[in-house]
């Protein structure tokens, strides 16, 4: 009695930062299409891309950055794709130090960021550069205090949450209810904000895959994502 009905299975490879929100969304979609089995594999966007290039049998891929999406497009034929969700990089602090303003973080704090190749790290550098324009030397001072370049953004969140780091660069969606008791974000000038974009790709033409793809980009499901702190890509400027 196993549900090994291959035709009715849709496999999604999705960026790890969508773990919570996409699981929720899939549950919703499952109610609508009970006969389709949706399997999701979460990992960092780049690992997923690598796996698809090496022949993973995947229907839908969701990347957390444009660069990974572009790299995949070079190697593999994509049926359909869409710029799909938008997120924002923020400066988060642990409330054990009373940090108030964004430019307070140049003090003697332990700073965490994702490494440069990871989208979150790339955006963090961009944000620092933006802020550097306001206050010269800010970026260097902060980067000097970096104690670790984490391999993904969730490690930054977890270590901030545990109080091992004082300040970190994370996504807006990372500030969930579960961490809000200890972490808060620092306000930065509107013009300096850095947005990130998520791309969804349909890799197979089959009926079921298209159905699920369409569901994922539908307004109903978008609402679920918004609940988790994402926004629609329209109001973002890449």
């Amino acid at each position: 009695g196993k549900k090994e009905t291959k035709e009715n299975q849709v496999i999604i490879y999705a960026a790890a930062s969508m773990t919570e929100s996409l699981s929720d969304a899939v549950e919703e979609i499952n109610e609508k299409y009970p006969d389709i089995e949706i399997c999701v594999s979460f990992n960092s966007s780049s690992k997923l891309r690598l796996q698809i290039e090496q022949g993973a049998d995947v229907d839908i891929y969701i990347s957390a950055s444009k660069s990974q999406y572009n790299k995949l497009k070079e190697k593999i034929q994509i049926e359909k794709d869409k710029e799909f969700l938008s997120n924002e990089i923020v400066i988060a602090a642990n409330n054990r130090n009373a940090i108030e303003k964004w430019n307070d973080i140049q003090g003697n704090y332990k700073v965490l960021k994702a490494e440069d190749q990871v989208p979150a790290g790339e955006y963090a550098i961009r944000l620092l550069e933006n802020l550097d324009a306001i206050e010269k030397g800010f970026s260097d001072k902060v980067l000097r205090n970096v104690v670790s370049e984490e391999i993904n953004v969730k490690q930054v969140v977890n270590k901030l949450y545990l109080g091992e780091g004082d300040v970190g660069f994370i996504y807006n969606t990372d500030l969930t209810e579960k961490v809000k008791d200890k972490l808060y974000k620092l306000k930065v000038p509107e013009a300096m904000k850095v947005k990130s974009n998520y791309y969804i790709c349909l890799l197979k033409k089959q009926d079921e895959s298209s159905k699920i793809y369409n569901e994922l980009i539908s307004d109903d499901i978008q609402k679920i994502f918004c609940k988790y702190g994402f926004s629609s890509p329209k109001n973002s400027q890449e």
């Binding site: 496999i11 773990t19 594999s41 990992n43 796996q51 090496q54 969730k154 579960k178 961490v179």
Partner: protein, 259 residues
């Protein structure tokens, strides 16, 4: 080792080491108690099943292939033996993620062997079989190395004397060698099982992270960390408890068959 200074030093060492290994686990329990207790969901049960099933099969494979090979390596000298022993060390030296990648390069759809298999319509990566292959890749060498030590421990002359009684080599192996090597083989089984049970890096790359299919417990813990840190730690604690229970059961089984 029994002089009073020696024995005091020894006790200090033991306390230090035991402390080093228990404090983190105690810390985990303390943290969970402080932060609202244990909190696990369906994901845990699902991935535990995947883990137990896959490691069960892996251990069976380890025993089936590992015992004859370990015995063969223990009892025979031949050229190429050092090379084999080197090769068996390599997976132990590889970071798991590298193991995952090279498995993918070999058995993936584009891979050297994978392309061949693909011709027959077989695709291994991102399936349950891939989970088992990843686990075998990291744990079988451990089993063979420790198993070989266990067989080395058995005096060959006792085996030879048993042959004199008219027992066939197979019978001697089963009735004399295996029981004498039992504790060592049990240790090999436990440690290779533990290695397979804890395997993360090779699995997530070679087998993917599909819930209910290829998502083992360590992968589920990793995924839980993305959302609910508390859930992840709860899973970790229960995982340790399950692992220790399995350990105890295996040792008791071994003890029984010893008598």
């Amino acid at each position: 080792m029994k002089g009073s200074i020696g024995s005091i030093l020894m006790k200090v060492f033991l306390v230090l080491v035991i402390g080093f290994f228990t404090i983190p686990i105690i810390s985990l329990i303390v943290y969970l108690l402080r932060e609202g207790g244990i909190n696990i969901g369906e994901r845990f049960i699902q991935s535990l099943m995947v883990s137990l099933k896959s490691t069960g099969i892996t251990v069976l494979i380890n025993i089936t292939l590992g015992i004859p090979i370990a015995y063969y390596l223990s009892r025979n000298e031949f050229k190429g033996k050092r090379a084999i022993s080197m090769i068996l060390n390599i997976p132990i030296l590889c970071p798991p993620s590298v193991s995952g990648i090279i498995l993918l390069l070999a058995f993936g759809r584009q891979g050297v062997v994978g392309k061949l298999l693909n011709g027959f319509g077989v695709s291994i990566p991102f399936t349950f079989i891939a989970v088992i292959m990843a686990q075998c890749f990291v744990s079988l060498p451990l089993f063979i190395q420790i198993g070989k030590e266990a067989f080395d421990k058995v005096d060959v002359e006792i085996e030879r004397s048993a042959l004199l009684l008219g027992m066939s080599p197979i019978k001697v192996f089963l009735k004399v060698t295996i029981p004498m090597a039992l504790f060592g083989l049990l240790k090999a089984t436990i440690m290779s099982w533990g290695r397979a049970f804890a395997e993360f890096g090779a699995t997530i790359i070679f087998a993917g992270n599909l819930g209910g299919k290829t998502q083992t417990l360590p992968l589920a813990i990793y995924s839980a960390m993305e959302g609910d840190f508390n859930e992840a730690l709860s899973m970790a604690l229960i995982m340790i408890i399950v692992a220790v229970t399995v350990l105890i059961v295996i040792s008791l089984l071994g003890r029984k068959s010893w008598d």
